[in-house]
Symmetry: C2
Subunit: 224 residues, 2 copies
């Protein structure tokens, strides 16, 4: 019985990583759909988000059952509580990937990102995808050192977002629709980076045995 | 001992409501600072957000201790899990109120909201404040019927956000800074409304004994 319980906890980690893999796929598709103006791909990403939502519902129910049946304490309890928080963070990341695809869809047949910011968004897409992939490896325990890389990716995302926002407010030759898209897209990528950081920080707290930081998901008031 | 435990659960509800009261105060201040261009008030709202973060950290630790010491099952377990989710939702609402104040601060000495959208934002402020206040009353169990009002307020917020976004993309006489502010502010108010809905839905699930809906915080892909 105890063995089954340990196996359940291992499954929990695998399930979180599987959810992140779906987010990785959705985000990659969303970034491509955005830059290529690929409507069919955007639609697929938007539709696929419901699978991530279902994953979360199922995983949360499993965790609540574990809490109820095993009455875990200490480390196991904190792992389950962290798992509940992480599943909701990952679900949110899926929403944000879908939001990027929605901007692509709304702009079709035009591109949402004006040519002069194309490279910025290529880079944002790479960075966000890298942060999601690295956070999955950190959670699966395969490479804890990647946590620092996620923080670095997030810093670069924040800096790029600030650059874009600054460019937009300093020049008045953008259309209103362009400004709106750039504002929303910058924010979506930035939030995905924040969430990836919150995931790896949570793992860090679990590994070091430090107090669970309930602020893992907190967003610092951003400025630009 | 059992009596102390029941009292702890009652305190949990009171603490969630107290957090929401702080959000209510912050949001009221943020909306006023935004419309009046009141820099000092904006600064106070931004600084006060850290209290909400501390409230959350403390409340979460209390809930984890309750989970560890009491090994609750069934309804009590679901109440605690819902409490953990609600505290993080409320913390997020506090962040969003601070974000509104940050937009006000960044625009100072100019007003972030152009005159032609002043009434829209007065109404958004009222609606969001109403939704926060009503959700607190629903959580405290004083008026469950107010849940429907929160849903209605949220629908009206969504409609107003869409109106503003549509106006912005259809007219090209906004400055880029105006478009960016209107886009971000519309999104912040919209998210506060979503979070209020997620809170009252969670209470609804607890009261009806229905399965905990882990999707309470989910955002439907919005369109406009």
């Amino acid at each position: 019985m105890r063995e089954a319980y340990r196996s359940d906890l291992r499954h929990l980690v695998e399930d979180l990583v599987a959810m992140l893999d779906r987010v990785h796929e959705g985000l990659g598709g969303a970034s491509t759909a955005l830059l290529d103006g690929d409507l069919a791909l955007a639609e697929r990403v938007i539709a696929a988000d419901s699978h991530i939502d279902e994953d979360q519902a199922q995983l949360d129910e499993t965790m609540i059952q574990l809490l109820a049946r095993q009455g875990p304490v200490a480390g196991d309890l904190r792992l389950l509580v962290a798992g509940l928080r992480m599943s909701s963070t990952i679900e949110r990341m899926g929403d944000l990937a879908a939001h990027i695809a929605i901007v692509a869809r709304r702009s079709h047949p035009q591109l949402a990102v004006p040519e002069r910011h194309r490279e910025d968004f290529q880079r944002l897409g790479e960075l966000a995808l890298g942060a999601v992939g690295s956070s999955a490896r950190v959670i699966s325990g395969n490479d804890l050192a990647l946590a620092a890389q996620v923080e670095k990716d997030d810093d670069e995302i924040d800096a790029l977002q600030s650059d874009i926002y600054r460019a937009v407010t300093r020049h008045d030759d953008y259309t209103s629709a362009e400004v709106m898209n750039l504002t929303l897209l910058g924010r979506y990528y930035e939030r995905i980076g924040d969430h990836a950081v919150s995931l790896v920080r949570r793992v860090g707290f679990l590994v070091t045995g430090d107090t669970l930081d309930s602020h893992g998901g907190r967003e610092d008031p951003e400025e630009f």
